[in-house]
């Protein structure tokens, strides 16, 4: 366990304590894991709206005439396909095709990009991008200057007059309750919502205003606990668990975020080979079919009585009321509908491989 003195705090630390948060270490930060309770917060986001502090995440600005080329050589997806104001999910890979990080890149101007990276990977990504860019571009780490708030849930669109003008996976500069923000219609919950990036000094007031205004919609402050259950129901991978430097986007089923048409990008050789010749293991999603303890990371996955893999993420799905998870299994066992077992404390508990996402949404 890390000593709390070494942990960093976001500009919203005091606001979290005021809201009754339980704080835990996460990726080098002291973050709220929950306020009223994970189940309640999870339900607020699925049914109404919730507010998350995402200030721990990193923000890089990449700019210059070579920015597009630099990012296209570093990232798997193709940033040239984005118009100004668009967002794209992408991966930063090493030369073996392993995932250094997964991130969202926004095209703010023709040659200015905002890149949002995972908290635990800020330094690694920054060094990697600077040392592996083959053309010169300005890569600036603004993580300390920016705070981030995520407003997520089916009622999030009712907060702002500009909502109808900001489509899903787009970003725009916008004043929100007096704070200048980059507002993106993105998130990590599977619901409609916004991610607002503002100056750190504006964050506490913005947090308070959003919670106050959101009372009419039954808003709840939400912690990392609910963030994890919400993303796992949608099968969004968590870097460090479901994708790591030892696993590739093709193995993780993220091939559609790899632009194989690009002639040159880090990890291309391995990824093209895997796409053409197949992979030995695949990241599958599963659901427990009988009453059982919730699956947890590292529990063995069995098929036909034999170990074929291991759980990378698992929990009790608050929406479905059953255990769910993801994990890598040998390719031969990775068929949707396939019967598997999760070994939980020496007991084999039946489960079924599900098509992603586990939580199937509306019509």
């Amino acid at each position: 366990m890390q000593s709390t003195e070494l942990l960093r705090r976001t500009p919203l630390y005091a606001a979290h304590l005021e809201c009754g948060a339980k704080m835990v270490p996460f990726g080098g930060w002291e973050m709220p894991v929950q306020y009223s309770g994970i189940l309640e917060e999870h339900a607020a986001v699925r049914e109404r709206v919730g507010l998350f502090d995402i200030s721990h995440m990193g923000e890089f600005l990449v700019a210059g005439p070579n920015a597009e080329r630099a990012l296209n050589e570093l990232f798997t997806n193709d940033v040239s396909k984005m118009a100004v104001g668009q967002a794209q999910y992408t991966l930063l890979c090493n030369h073996q095709g392993g995932v250094i990080d997964d991130l969202i890149v926004y095209r703010l101007e023709p040659s200015v990009y905002l890149v949002i990276v995972n908290a635990a990977n800020i330094e690694t990504d920054f060094i990697w991008m600077n040392t592996n860019a083959t053309v010169s571009a300005v890569i600036e780490n603004l993580s300390d200057r920016f705070a981030g708030l995520a407003l997520q849930g089916p009622l999030a669109g009712r907060f702002f007059e500009f909502s109808p003008l900001l489509p899903r996976f787009h970003i725009q500069r916008q004043e929100v309750f007096g704070a200048e923000c980059w507002v993106a219609r993105t998130g990590y919950t599977g619901e409609d919502g916004f991610e607002l990036f503002c100056e750190a000094t504006d964050a506490p007031k913005l947090w308070k205003m959003l919670l106050g205004w959101g009372q009419q919609f039954g808003i709840k402050p939400c912690g990392l606990g609910a963030r994890d259950t919400l993303r796992l129901e949608m099968c969004y991978p968590l870097h460090g668990n479901d994708i790591t430097e030892e696993t590739t986007p093709v193995e993780a089923g993220l091939g559609k975020f790899v632009s194989f048409d690009k002639k040159l990008f880090v990890g291309r050789d391995v990824l093209v080979d895997q796409k053409d010749h197949g992979v030995r293991r695949k990241l599958i999603a599963f659901r427990m079919t009988e009453k059982s303890p919730p699956p947890r990371p590292h529990y063995p996955i069995l098929a036909g009585g034999r170990k074929v893999g291991e759980v990378t993420s698992g929990t009790q799905s608050p929406t479905l009321g059953v255990g769910i998870g993801m994990g890598y299994v040998e390719t031969a066992a990775a068929t949707t509908g396939g019967a598997i077992e999760i070994e939980i404390r020496q007991r084999r508990c039946p489960a079924v491989i599900e098509k992603k996402p586990i939580l199937k949404r509306g019509p």
């Binding site: 339980k22 994970i38 059982s292 947890r296 009790q316």
Partner: protein
């Protein structure tokens, strides 16, 4: 934090209600509050032999699995079957409907090792 006066407490946050030679066991209000949102409870089998200080049950919250330790040694006499369908009883009523199992004590002298309510309150900083 609710710490009933008529119970004894283990440092590992189990409570014991003594009924003759039987110990009724559950987790404390402080423990359920720390765990939050209990979603699964695994109790020992009736007849199982448990040893004071050794893990004998598991409580799972959304986030993690936590071992529960036997506060005294003996044989498990009864378990709360209701918890398999209503694990949230541990959150809602930790000293009542949230009881977990009973032990027929093999050495009631072990009760002397447990904390009284005031010492437990001090132990959790309440």
């Amino acid at each position: 934090m609710n710490i009933p006066k008529n119970l004894k407490y283990a440092k590992s946050h189990e409570w014991v209600r003594v009924e003759g030679n039987t110990a009724v066991v559950g987790i404390t209000d402080h423990a359920q509050n720390e765990l939050s949102d209990v979603v699964y409870v695994e109790v020992p089998a009736v007849g199982a032999r448990v040893e004071a200080g050794k893990e004998c049950a598991v409580v799972e919250s959304v986030k993690a699995a936590s071992d529960i330790y036997a506060p005294v040694s003996g044989d498990v006499a009864a378990v709360n079957e209701e918890l398999s369908n209503a694990p949230e009883a541990l959150n809602q009523d930790p000293y009542g409907k949230g009881w977990m199992f009973t032990i027929t004590m093999s050495d009631p002298g072990e009760l002397g090792e447990l904390l009284n309510p005031d010492d437990y309150a001090h132990h959790i900083g309440a």
